[in-house]
């Protein structure tokens, strides 16, 4: 039995700072994720989600403002798009690709797939891939399961089948994992070393939580803390030659002072020399070629045991 079978998702130790190389000798990779979902609950995008002023703002003015902010600094992003939202705004989705961004799948409707059976999840995954391929003109390489604001925790939800289904459907990467702060392999079967590359996500770099908590609409939000978190992590990861990622929601970060804060941060970031700003798929392809699982995923025989009186 491999040593983390049924227990952990990857190998024992992350790649050391000194072993990380980015293309053309760049110092740090920056992956910007823009989540276009406006789903509020576990069912994903529903009719009621299309009744709020925030939904209107996030899909139009907010999105345009965030796009302008990125473009004015020459930055590209990966857009996590629920398939039904792509159907609602096909021209906008096509335009994202034309502007050099990537479009990745964010569920059929950004639903909580842990509530679905495997067959239903598989059918929705296939349908979502089909819709996005049709709308964007290319097959999506990445899949996201980002958190909704009403989730009972902030990591995003997957089922026990999700990773396996993504491999089966030919996805190159999963866009939000929490076990590392660089790309890493999420192992679904230890015996066969079946794994999918996972890009890091962390809720402290996700705007929605600083704009929604402790209570949305009270003015008790913390966009200043968000900026300090971004900056502290970027500085630290830049020094380590690693990877920085941030998750944006146009309906949150696109507004007034928050947008000004984003622009200020992007100015600060792009002034750092030797950043590499790939989209998710570019980063994943580089990583898979440079650090392939065959040579870099180190799985060892298990020393994990079952004991009477203990959790197995």
């Amino acid at each position: 039995m491999p040593w983390k079978d049924r227990y952990t998702i990857s190998d024992e130790k992350s790649l050391a700072d000194g072993d990380i190389r980015w293309p053309e000798g760049r110092r740090c990779a920056v992956h910007i994720v823009v989540d276009l979902s406006i789903a509020s609950g576990p069912q994903g995008l529903e009719m009621r989600d299309l009744e709020s002023p925030a939904a209107e703002f996030g899909s139009h003015e907010g999105l345009e403002l965030v796009l302008e902010a990125l473009q004015s600094h020459g930055l590209r992003a990966t857009f996590a798009v629920p398939a039904v939202l792509a159907q609602m705004h096909p021209a906008k989705i096509k335009a994202l690709i034309e502007r050099g961004h990537e479009v990745a799948t964010h569920g059929l409707r950004h639903e909580d797939v842990s509530l679905l059976g495997r067959d239903e999840e598989k059918a929705r995954l296939e349908r979502a891939t089909e819709i996005l391929t049709q709308v964007s003109g290319r097959k999506p390489a990445g899949w996201f399961s980002l958190p909704r604001q009403t989730d009972p925790f902030a990591g995003g939800t997957i089922s026990s089948s999700t990773m396996d289904l993504l491999i089966e459907a030919g996805y190159t990467y999963m866009g939000n994992g929490l076990a590392d702060d660089i790309p890493h392999y999420w192992v679904t079967d230890f015996a066969s070393r079946r794994a999918i590359l996972t890009l890091p996500y962390y809720y402290h770099f996700d705007d929605q939580f600083f704009c929604m908590f402790p209570v949305a609409g009270t003015g008790l939000e913390n966009p200043d803390m968000l900026l300090r978190n971004w900056r502290a992590e970027l500085d630290a990861q830049y020094r380590r030659n690693r990877f920085f990622t941030m998750t944006l929601h146009p309906q949150h970060i696109g507004w007034g002072h928050r947008l000004a804060g984003l622009e200020e941060f992007l100015r600060y970031m792009t002034a750092l020399p030797d950043l590499w700003n790939p989209t998710g798929a570019e980063c994943a392809r580089y990583w898979l070629a440079t650090y392939p699982a065959a040579t870099h995923l180190k799985l060892e025989p298990s020393i994990w045991k079952d004991y009477p009186g203990s959790l197995s």
Partner: protein
Amino acid sequence: MTDSPNGEDLKAAAQRLSDRHHRIEKPAWPDGARIAVNFTADFDAMLLRRLNNEPAMQLAKGEFGGRVGIWRLIELFDQHRIKATIFTVGRICELYPRALEAAVSSGHELADHMWEHRVPKEPELELDHLRKTAAALERISGRRPVGSRSHHTPALLRSEGYIYNSHGSPSHHPYYVLDSKGAPCLLELPFHYAIDDAMFFSFAWYQSANASQRLSDTDRVFDLWWAAFMQQYRQGGYLNVCLHPFVSGRALRIAMLDRLIARMKTLPGVWFATCEEVARHCLKQHPPRGSSA
């Protein structure tokens, strides 16, 4: 009306509470140091999340602690030549043995943090868990642990050879807890939730309400913890900094701790030690009242 306690009963209860805690009033640290600082790491990775049967992404969040965070904490302490105490869940020895071996070879202390982050109610199973953890830690460190951070029964810890626990905060200073017969049981090294990284950064505890979300930033926590350190430094005292590898192991927080330690080191008379060193010093220099030790 239910039978509310009267004033005399409350007074007696307060007295019993005080009688159980013997605080070391003026700790005299080695070489005339003004303050003893224990950096401690509670290394449970995803075990607590697993115990709570939390979903996959919550477990992955914990795994960061074992794959990345613990290594960075060891590196940070080593760079500053600080010896720290790693309160280790016994079963972590089977999941992240290499990190623990590295901690030991750097001279850090391994101490008990329960077998699987819980204390069983059944006395035999509690003893079994305590012994399993001690054996697992001893296999890695070559010596039996003498400290714990747990709700294990104090008398049991003592009979198993433990000399200290690090759990409550009835005082800034180390203190002795007396058993039900009034005999000194264990030395306690206090830690307070306000000097616990998880209370500021472990956002989205599973199924916690919005209003209890922990969301802060490193600039703010740096200021709070520096103020806590200075308050004890000025009058002479003790500080226990409680870290979790899956929380503080994030690059931005390692950078914050690096600044904090560097600033502490600019002052004279700061004794950075393991919990065991502080405990042994207290037991020798400030033995419990009425004990023959």
